[in-house]
Amino acid sequence: MINQVLQSLPYIVPELIVTGTLCLVLLLSLMMRKKSDLLVFVAALGLFAALAVLTSQPFASACLFFKMTVIDPFSQFFKLVILFAALIVVLMSRFSDEVNQIKKSLGEYYFLVVSMTLGMMFMVSASNLLMMYLSLELTSLTSYVVVGFIKQSKNSSEASLKYLLYGAFSSGVMLYGISIIYGLTGTMELSGINQVLAQGSANTAMLLIGGIMLLVGFGYKISAVPFHFWTPDVYEGAPTTITAFLSVASKAAGFAMLMRALKIMFLDSSALEIGNEFWPLIHGIPVVEILSVLAVLTMTIGNLVALWQDNVKRLLAYSSIAQAGYMLLGLATISNEGYSAVMLYFIVYLFMNLGAFYVAMLISNTLGSENIHDYKGLGRRAPFLSVSMAVFLVSLTGIPPTAGFIGKWMIFLSLINVKMIGLAVIGVLNSVVSLYYYLRIVRNMFLHEGEKEEVAIRYPLAQQLLLLCLMVPTLYFGIFFNPLIELVQFSVQMFGIK
């Protein structure tokens, strides 16, 4: 028995490295409080090492730790996204005035960020409901703390409290849902659940209750309507770096979990044949309908409310809700293609959303404001920054030749492929609506003159380089997206299912 534990260990080397990193960061922070650069270095190096190991690892598929967790291309892919996001966020944090003003707690900050990363990595590979719950809680608990990292700030503290209450409640409900599913199937292991459900003896109403309770937990993580309410408040209150991290990595982890749970639990694998456009689902579970409704609501409400926002972070928060809606569209297709579209979207989203938040952060560093009206005239004062912001926003809208277009394109492609034309129409109309508020930022930057005297703002080279690292892929993948699609098409494979 112990053997299996030992045999499993080599497969989770990246996780182990991250764990080691977090210990190291903690130790370092205890020993030398003032050396923030060293902390960044260690954290980044650790994450980078994990990333390196991850990419050099053969894409194997295996079941680890008594089916608690699996390793498969799907989880590897999401770990990649998460680690990359974490790396960027750590580097971003180095440039964040908000974060750096609290010198004393920097050690804890990086420790918590790395811990959160670890939690997410377990989330994406968990194949047991208990494990999902545990890793979700690991992620959540750390994020409650980092959201309130700027203790002096009322906003940050408030965000932290709200996040805590909402999160604890949601995960409680999710846990209850897990217990119900456990009761219905006698196991918490996903494929085991699937086997029981496939027999068709489970009470569907109860299963639906359990499933929806589970969805409350997932929905909270990916901020899908109507479980999204915490999002704007928390995104606005949290330090920008954390907002960025939550909006990308945490969401990715939530999505990965949802996708895995959906596919492994509800897919009728006995009926699966090669080339099926729709996956055959276990009878009686209205997965497609529920996901479609959620998707439509999520993107529509996200977009409509975003129209009214004046705070850039809040606006981006709503935008990220809407983006989750698009991704849910991909899920609603219940097909490998939709899944791979969502995954593609995440790569793209990684660059563009992090980029947008990064620019917002840099601007708030210098202007001390996140209000959209204070962005006026920035196009002249900080041209490079503004241009890259424009690129990110255009990409978020989904206009070629940016990567965002490819993301949307794939999603609509998958929708059309399964003939969900109504959803596709709603989706594209939504993207037209979204254009308006994204352009509001661009408009303020370029089309308006600043009220104050126009002094050019200079940013250090390092900050600009990081920006470039985000912008270049956003543009490059818009034109040459071959590798992206190949990657996601490979990565969509989950353990045990084609």
Binding site: Y133, E137, F169, L175
Partner: protein, 102 residues
């Protein structure tokens, strides 16, 4: 009559509902936290009941243990956050902590 699984489940349902009620209706953040503990406990009752009536299936037992561990961790962080809120806002009334909104 024998006490069946359903009896336990009904108790858990009641506990869960009271927990939810506490969470959504109480102004005091600490009572809200108590409500969350009630929810976790109700889930635990479920786990154990299923475990018991399923020939001592160990998964339920294990889940319950981890839930208790997590509850402890969560309580620690939650209380810290509430204390911090008290420091900033001089209140722990949840509805008064609402400067972030549209």
């Amino acid at each position: 009559m024998h006490i069946t699984l359903t009896h336990y489940l009904l108790v858990s349902a009641a506990l869960f509902s009271f927990g939810v009620f506490a969470v959504i209706s109480k102004r005091n953040a600490i009572i809200v936290l108590m409500g969350i503990e009630l929810i976790l406990n109700s889930a635990n009752i479920n786990f154990l009941a299923f475990s018991r009536f399923g020939n001592l299936n160990m998964e339920g037992q294990m889940a319950a243990i981890f839930v208790i561990i997590l509850a402890a961790a969560e309580a620690a962080i939650a209380l810290a956050i509430v204390l911090n809120i008290f420091k900033r806002f001089n209140t722990v009334n949840v509805d008064e902590v609402s400067t972030l909104k549209d």
